[in-house]
Amino acid sequence: MIFILAIAPIALILFLMVGLRWGAARAGGAGYLAALAIAVISFGAGPQLLAYAHTKALLLSLDVLMIIWAAFFLYRVVDEAGAIRTIGLSLPHLTSDKGMQALIIGWVFATFLQGVGGFGVPVAVIAPILGGLGFAPLAAVVIPSIGHGWAVTFGSLGSSFQALIASTGLPGEQLVHVPALYLGIAGVFVGWMVAHAAGGFSAVRRLFWAVLVLGTVMGITQYLVAASGLWNIGAFIAGIAGLLAVIPLARRYRGDRQDNGRLDGRALLIAISGYAVMVLVILAVQLIPWLRGILDRVVLQVDFPEVHTSLGFITPAGAGRIIHLLRHTGAVLAYAAILAYFIYRRAGLYQASAMRRILSGTVRRVLAPTVSILSMVTMAAMMEHAGMTDALARRLAEGIGILFPFFAPWIGALGAFMTGSNTNSNVVFGALQLRTAHLLGLSAAVILAGQTAGASLASVMAPTKVVVGASTAGMAGREGDVMRRLLAYTGLLVLLISLLTLIGVWVIGG
């Protein structure tokens, strides 16, 4: 009964979005209300606990929303200048093969963007580009959603992997090898799925070797970079390696038209300067110590006291998430957007009142996603504080015993779906997975690899990310359609990680 009650808010959101095709904001609101009622009535959550859970959720939401707002702003800055259209028009010069275009933009470029940005940025940026290239809106969202999933753990400048280290207390050198291997293998399957989403099984057959080559290059690169201790830039370097490898490959898959026309290099250069500026600003903030020092001065952090439910579930005291307001990825994206605006303005790409249209367009686009993210993150925080998440994971672990390695990735996936991120899933379930692995005498490195790899791949179908993708591709209100498509792909990928985790436990043992 406890299990059913604990899972009810998540099941309700899934049912409303996938079954009744509700938008994420409405479904999130319903999930929030259900979680609140169950936390109070069945799990003994009191007013103080709920108050702190709400404040913590607001900070977690701010952490995500800053990036989403800035990503939309950057997208509007680039789009208003006509740069996305220019990039879209220039891609057929590389290849007119739709499947190959999907691989280049929706997989390789998505990996690169996940490496430098993350938090929904790849989907927010790429979905409109694919839409401009003539992909159906649903495919335009689904392709980059699947395409970046394999790069989440070592993307976002390593925040998810860092969270796994923090939540388990194990050294990164001990943890890094297995998830890098699992995600590298999954990356190849991701490529085939991107091809399938773009053109069905015929595209998979046609692009089989191209995917194998690109996937191997990116997977091995990510493994080598992460295993050498540079896990913060594992996906970023893998994305660059993929972009370099794709140029000769694209020549072999030029599509039906042998002559793809003349490329306007200057226009393309100005168009991509917005994203080039983004990369430069991110690298500058990461690599220039004095700049980092200045930006680190403004910090938002709140200390939370210990709280407990009337049933005795304790959430220990601790500092909330630290938000470096000026060095936050969202802030960095905003700097990039402002710089890009001036570059495009200098190039004469804007018409009158461009900034007003950029700002109003951004506000209108982000409003509903903002509300839905707040509702869902608050729901997750209440569930965590009330012991609902713990009850859920414990029942799953206790009930399945020796088969736990198979289910460990699904727990990670569940956490990512609920909280909207690989990072949060690792924070919520990392310690629990470690404890369970010890109790069952299993390799902690393998179980935790299952946790983070499952979370990485499933984070793409977290409602918060789906909302972002759907809204940038003109699919707002049709998030259920996107989730239905993603469910099949993501389910297969998490199943793959489950099998790899089982094999890992057999090979490595306890």
């Binding site: 999130g28 609101g29 609140l36 007013p47 709400h54 903002t370 509300v371 839905s372 509702s375 707002a476």
Partner: protein
């Protein structure tokens, strides 16, 4: 009541703005209310967040 619901459905942007205010402003104050042990204030603020989520439920279409 019916008129209000109709207005909210026809003005989704304004409705989301109201909902956004209701789900963001109270959680900031909730921290201080909990620190001060003001349970009555916590209930009022939680009520506002619940109201914000109920308002979102009334908006069909986008989001």
């Amino acid at each position: 009541m019916t008129g209000l619901l109709k207005w909210m459905r026809n003005h989704s942007f304004e409705t989301y703005l109201i909902a956004l205010f209701l789900v963001t402003a109270p959680p900031t104050l909730l921290y201080f209310a909990a620190r001060s042990g003001l349970e009555w204030l916590i209930y009022i603020l939680l009520g506002l967040v619940v109201l914000g989520n109920l308002i979102v439920l009334s908006v069909r279409g986008n989001g």
